[in-house]
Each structure stands twice: as C-alpha cells, then as structure tokens.
C-alpha cells in the first residue's frame, strides 16, 4: 500500500509556541524538541541521495514503516545536523534486521535501549566524542543521533513508554545511547575494520543494551586482573544469561593489555572463560534453566565452555570489546544485552556518506 503524504501542521511563527505544540502532540521524550520545520527537514533529507519515501525500516508488530522522510523529521527534532543523518540511517538499517528485533528489545519489561557504536573516520568528520565522558552529555553528535533513534521508536513505531514500551524500570539510555569508538591510541583494529568493511568505510553497530555497569579497577596491572574484574561484572547474578555483551575498556586498562601484547581475541577468550557461575549458584538464586544450560553445552558447544558452569553468552565472539573514554581513570564498562534467550543479536551496517558536503551549522 502506498504511503500517505507526510502531514504538515501550521503553527504560529513563534519558536516557543512551536516547542509547546510538539509537547501537546506527544512527540517528545519529556525534553523539548527542535520543532521539525519544513525547511530544516528538507535540508536533513539532502544528506541522503535516495527519494524521501524510501523505506529504511519496517516494524513487524504494527506494520508501520520508517521512511527517510520520517527519519529526517525525527532527526531535526532530536537536534541532529544533516552531517549526522547518514549515521542515523545506518543505525536503522542495522536495527531493521530480524536478528536485532528492535520491537522486542524496546517493548520488553527488560528495559533495553539500542546502544549505537560508531566506528571509523566519520567519528572525527562529524565531531563525535570517543573520549572523556564518553557516555555522558555535552557532545551534539552523540546526544542527537542517539536521541533521534529513540524519537523514531516513539513517534514512528508508536513504542510509547508505559503502553507499548513496558520496561519495568527503564534505563537512562532510553534518552540517548550513542558513542564513538576511540581510535586514538587504540592498539586493536577498529570495529569497522574487524567487521570487514573496506578501508575508509565507517560503520554503526547496534546492540540492545540492557543497562550500564561501571567496572572500576585502579590497582590491577595485568590483563588477567583487569579482565577478571570485568568478567565478574559480566557474571553478576542480575546479568548472567546466554546474551551478548559489550565491553568498553578505558585507555588506562587498554594500555595494560596492549603492553602485554594481548589481542582482541585473547581478551574475548579470557572474558568468556572467566564470566561464569556454577550451576549450584544459578539454582540458589532461581535462575538455572535446563534448556539454557543444554543449549550452551550441546555438541556444538564452544571449546572454552566448562561443564558445571553457566557462561555468559555462547562463545567469545558474543563479546564486543573495544576502547573508549578519557585518558585518565581506571573505569571501564560492561553493557549486557537485553536478550537472555538470544532473540536480539547485535548488528552492524556501513555508513553511506552524504552525497554533498553538509553544513556543520
């Protein structure tokens, strides 16, 4: 069925009144939005060469589609510049894959929000933050791209808090959850390279993030000590499932691994081996499930899986690990996947640059 024409609302020519109008329509996340003025939306659309009615995501539960046009409207509202738009589009192209299941991760009582990790040269080109206060406020690109992802879930796909987003307690990432992978001082191949994209191509990774756990370690000075503390966070009874993980190592912690010559793969193996709980322990808190144990320990089990234990994830490749944050501070983080039963798996997509130079302001 052909899409209907985008609706236009006539409002008084007063920005404050327009902001109030957006609130009255229920279009916001509780914070004021930039009114999606027609000219601003058209400028945003110019950052993608395809027709405005191009569908970039589909919501199976409702049959609703996300067009480039609707994405542009929400991008303006979130505070995005046109230069940010290709990242948002790529994020939804990744989230649109059935394996990501953006409906489930948004609707669930589990309270996850899509974590968007941007990797590659575009992070510098559009002024993203990969450094101090990585997950915090203050950077327009990080904040606005993440917020646009959320506004689309709300406004386009009608994932309304309390109604179709049944998150028990929510998660601050439901306002905005977008970071850049740090390239400066990173000893490992960037994610975009590890994901197989050609040199010069940036990527977006979407991950259904169930929360944020700070992992502090200022005394450890070997990879095993640092990763041991991260693994302990990954295996906490509140988080341990067959789901995937994201680990962002602080530069202070990454330097310890780099000085010892550890590769990403060694770190993943170490984390997977250590992030586990005994079957007795899982039963003691009511979280042991035969079906899940059998799945992890069947004849396709990874070689590092240990009998009598429940590991986090099915194998080391379930752990995305890279570097981010400021130079000072032994504070890394672990972000669990919302999915306990693997009904959401992280996805990545290439970012297609804008066809024309986009104005930065």
């Amino acid at each position: 069925m052909a899409a209907v024409a985008p609706r236009i609302h006539d409002v008084p020519d007063d920005v404050l009144a327009a902001i109030d109008f957006c609130y009255e329509q229920g279009w916001t996340d509780g914070l004021p939005v930039v009114p999606p003025e027609v000219g601003r939306v058209k400028a945003m659309l110019a950052a993608d060469a395809r027709p405005a009615e191009t569908v970039i995501a589909h919501h199976p539960a409702t049959g609703l589609d996300l067009s480039l046009h609707a994405a542009a409207v929400n991008a303006v509202m979130a505070g995005c510049l046109p230069a940010h738009f290709p990242v948002l589009v790529a994020a939804y192209e990744a989230m649109n894959r059935p394996e990501f299941n953006f409906h489930g991760s948004t609707a669930s009582t589990g309270g996850s929000a899509p974590l968007i990790v941007v990797s590659g040269p575009i992070t510098d080109e559009i002024g993203m933050n990969a450094d101090v206060n990585l997950f915090g406020p203050g950077n327009r690109a990080n904040a606005a791209i993440g917020r646009a992802v959320r506004l689309i879930l709300r406004n386009v796909f009608q994932m309304l808090p309390g109604i179709s987003d049944k998150s028990t307690q929510g998660n601050p990432g439901k306002y905005s959850f977008c970071i850049a992978e740090r390239s400066r001082g990173n000893p490992w191949p960037l994610l975009c390279e590890a994901q197989g994209y050609p040199q010069g191509t940036s990527s977006v990774t979407a991950f259904a993030g169930g929360g944020f756990c700070n992992v502090e370690n200022h005394g450890g000075n070997t990879p095993e000590q640092i990763l041991g503390s991260v693994a302990d966070a990954m295996a906490n009874y509140g988080c341990i499932t067959l789901g995937q993980s994201v680990v962002i190592l602080a530069p202070e912690h990454m330097r310890i691994l780099a000085d010892a010559g550890w590769t990403r793969e060694q770190a993943q193996d170490c984390l997977f081996t250590l992030a586990k709980r005994s079957v007795e322990g899982m039963k003691s808190v009511g979280k042991f499930r035969d079906r899940e144990y059998d799945r992890q320990h069947d004849d396709k089990a990874h070689g590092l899986v240990e009998a009598g234990f429940v590991h986090r994830g099915l194998g080391p490749s379930d752990i995305l690990i890279t570097m981010g944050g400021g130079d000072a501070g032994g504070h890394s983080c672990f972000i669990p996947s919302w999915s306990r039963g693997r009904s959401s798996l992280m996805q990545h997509a290439a970012i297609t640059p804008s066809p024309t130079p986009s104005p930065q302001s």
Binding site: T62, G63, L160, I163, S164, K166
Partner: protein, 59 residues
Amino acid sequence: MVICTTPFEVTAKNIARVLGLPDYPFVKVQHPIGSCTLPELKTRAEVAYEQARAILLEP
C-alpha cells in the same frame, strides 16, 4: 482469542488500535503468569474461560 495480564491491557489496546481493530475484545487475567503455581494458573484459567466464552459467542 488473546489473553493478557492486567498490566499489559494498555499494550493490547494500543496494538489493536494500530492494527485497525480498536475495539478488539481480549481476555484479561491477574498478573503474573510466569511465577504462578498450578493452582494459581487454574484459578486464572477459570477467569479466562468465562471471558473467552462470552467473546467467542458474541455477535
């Protein structure tokens, strides 16, 4: 015949609206289901049966 627990009533109504059946009737039972004992499930099933019977036969 869709059964949901009371906290999900607004969810069911919203999805029915979006799918084009805003007045779609469904069965509502007490929350939760996941942690119920068998006797508790049987009690909820009786409640569900009564509502379902009425909905299925209603013209």
